[in-house]
């Protein structure tokens, strides 16, 4: 299996990489909230940027930017599809 198809957590995705959400773990409240905000299995997301000092991660889902803490990012599992977005980098 190539690296591209392995399931990793959103925290381990690199800035600029695109991926498809495979699963969301956590309590019912969190899963519901994330689903409503557009993070649910099958959705393509782009990891946009991350804050230094292990701070939050900002992602793009459709036309929305969402910022979430590392603890939440650890519970979102994605499959990178090998694409990167040239508009998205942390510089």
């Amino acid at each position: 299996m190539s690296m591209e198809n392995a399931v990793i957590s959103l925290s381990n995705l690199r800035d600029g990489q695109q991926a498809v959400v495979s699963a969301v773990e956590g309590g019912r409240g969190l899963v519901e909230k994330l689903t409503a905000m557009g993070i649910r299995p099958g959705k393509r997301i782009t990891r946009f940027c991350s804050m230094y000092l292990h701070g939050h991660i900002t992602i793009r889902v459709d036309n929305v930017h969402l910022s979430l803490g590392r603890g939440i990012a650890d519970k979102i599992f994605v499959i990178p599809d090998g694409l990167t977005d040239e508009n998205t980098s942390c510089r």
Binding site: K33, M37, C49, L66, G69, R70, N87
Partner: protein
Amino acid sequence: MKILLAGNPGAGKSVLFSRLTGSVVVSDNFPGTAIGFSSGHMRVAGQNAEVIDTPGVYSLESSGQAGEVARKMLGDGDIIVNVVNATNLERDLYLTLELLEERIPVIVALNVWDDARHIGIEIDVAAIEQMLGVPVIPTVATTGQGIKLLVESIPQAVMRANPAATREERWARIGEIVGQVQKVTHRHHTLGESLADATVRPLPGTIIALLIAIAVFAFVVYGGEAIFNFVAQPIFNKLWLPVVTAISGLTSGLPFLHDILIGRLFDSKIDFVESWGLLTTALYVPFALVLPYIITFYFALGLLEDTGYLPRLAVMIDTVMHRFGMHGYAIIPTILGFGCNVPAMLATRVLESRKERFIAMTLIAIAVPCASLQALIIGLVGQHGIQYVALIYGTLLVVWIIIGTILNHTVKGFTPELLIEIPPYRLMPWKLTLEKLWIRVRGFIAEAVPIMIIAVPVINVLYMIGVFQAITDFTAPVVSGLLGLPKDAVAAIFISFFRMDAAMALLAPLQLTAKQLVVSSVVLVMFFPCIATFTIMLREMGVRGLLMALGIMIVSGLTVGALLNLLPI
């Protein structure tokens, strides 16, 4: 007839509400802040209708306060205008499908239509209308486009009462709809978008945040000063002074009335700050000394809110705020506190946990000076040099950091992690920004002026019968010994409980040195909140919480005041 506006956070309900009713909601481009609701009136087909702006929710099943309010309000509406953000069709349609299952007529306003086209999203309105089975009207609430058609179409709303579907069924249906009606063309980033993105990137974002903070502070201070010098001061000196001088002459035979209306004379002249009469100090302090800064502060805040910068700031500062036991959101109430602590306390409701709310409220009450206090700091202390103003703000920042760190480690409870949607930047119509400013300025006048008008004669009488003398003598050891202030300053600290601006008027005539002004300003900020803040803290944190907060205030206020008194300045 009752018309409910329902939609996801950030779909533009509040702006649409002002378009429909002509009244302004003090809301901002900040998802999830409108937890309460507002109502207004409009004419539909010749009839008067009530319009209600419900809190934004992603789904009717949403947990939390906003979801509860939205569900409850749905029960007593007659028609729903479902505001859908065209740039987020897929996500927003979930709520639409839920609404279509209810036994109530629905019409869809496909809002933010202009942005959708700019970013390359094309939506086939006829097709989506057919698939949903209710009228769909494209609108741009910020410019007013499509509003007339929307109003005309409200009577055509259709009740579907679709059979209840499961979550999976709804998402599947949304997939079908979006697949058929929406076409997205890929397009490169515009310069504007790259700039917008920069504000959430770590390094440029931090620099931009600092620059904005400096710009806002400079604008509030120098803009306020300009209004004072070129508007307020001339009005009082050229127009009002002759009037009160005439009244002073007329009442000279009635000393008691003269004392109440005009107050004391200095070299047989009126001094607006020190005379301490109803027509002099009671009007001059709120209108001339404080109002200019209220105007500039709320103007700057309105711009930050309406453009959508505040949530970006909340995101940027989240890591820092977590060190003090708060979510990044807590920066919003903190900033509001620089205007008035009362709405700031209310705004802490956007914070989820009790721990966060307690820390945020306590820190605001202790270390965030409201506009009235800042007018004192900038106006009175600033005369001695900007370094003293910097010393005051620096001290407050250090206090905020130290107490925040301690509370984070001692208060029980949890701090939820960041999970925020960052809304796109938007240009609001100027009219709305200015109307919001007017509502806030009017609110200040309605609150401050009556209290000043009551407080000034009451303090006058208390002075005459010697009550202050007694309090002053009693507290002299602390005030003079520990803080190094003249014992008369205690009256100011005492009065600050009722109104911060009244405290300022009491300090002004004392001829304090720069150091004494620094100490008294810091103590005024930290010590007790004003009575309005006090009441709201009691309601929001309960008796035990309030007592704890007050204990922290008294101990830290005295400690910091005494330490500053020891500084060799």
